[in-house]
């Protein structure tokens, strides 16, 4: 596991106010219910890394749903140049695949800038006080489903137990597609 630059590790996450594919406003901090931990994953529809890792993240979301862990996915890509990442394409994908956590549209890319999201997928794990405790990749290899997002799970286990999570890692994936 390669250690990443610490970024804003330990600091409180910037607030999120974004609509999901159903038009519902999702916020962080959440109102009224709070989570024991929150996973925010920058992702998209067109990137092979994001696609390859997606099911592992879905499986983790399912496995941790009963432990008070909230998952949010965010897409910030320039949909004009990458129409596969448009809000319409996001909505179609959520319906087709039956997503069980919200997929948020960062139309002006401000959330990606505020959080320092660089690639898809790029994970940010927050504790109950919304402090960033882990940032990086789900596991070591997008080509190996057997790894099962083990870095994500190890970090979540630590956060839920009140322990220090493993060191953050360098996220690997497609660059965020910034608007010109």
């Amino acid at each position: 596991m390669s250690a990443a630059e610490p970024g804003w590790l330990g600091q409180t996450a910037p607030p999120l106010r974004l609509e999901d594919t159903g038009g519902e406003l999702r916020t962080l901090p959440a109102e009224p219910a709070e989570a024991a931990a929150t996973v925010v994953v920058w992702t998209c529809n067109h990137c092979p890394y994001a696609l390859a890792w997606h099911q592992r993240i879905v499986d983790a979301a399912d496995d941790y749903a009963g432990r008070g862990v909230r998952f949010l996915a965010v897409n910030s890509n320039d949909a004009l140049r990458y129409p596969a990442d448009s809000p319409e394409a996001m909505r179609e994908r959520v319906e087709r695949e039956g997503w069980r956590f919200p997929y948020l549209w960062d139309a002006d890319q401000e959330a990606a800038r505020a959080w320092g999201a660089r690639v898809t997928p790029h994970l940010f794990l927050l504790d109950a006080e919304h402090r960033l405790r882990y940032e990086g990749a789900p596991d070591a290899d997008h080509q190996d489903p057997a790894l099962g997002a083990e870095w994500l799970r190890a970090a979540l286990d630590a956060i839920l137990a009140g322990d220090d999570p493993p060191a953050s890692t360098e996220p690997v994936g497609c660059s965020i597609k910034w608007k010109p």
């Binding site: 990137c47 092979p48 080509q143």
Partner: protein
Amino acid sequence: MAEPAPLVELLWWRGCPSWERAGEIVREQMEHQGLGGDALSLREIRDDREAEAAGFPGSPTILVDGHDIQDPGEASGLTCRVYRLRDGRISALPDPADIADALAAASASSESRG
């Protein structure tokens, strides 16, 4: 006289990190077939204009004698290319077996022409 080796070209874009590993895989496959991995030609695609001119379907793209090792589908420009491995997994890298088959087919074609 020896038959000419196939022209193997890797088109890459710096916004996608898989091109370096793709180059290693191509070189390994070329060496397995006695073609010499040093003959791999790298070509960076730097902007939309170059992508359009090359019909670039995403990074990395591997051409053997000008033929793509997988059906590129619709050209999609400056992006990471989505590959399907032979077991169905989605990947940012091509299946080494597809590269091997493309190299073998090009070599066979060259021999038949000779």
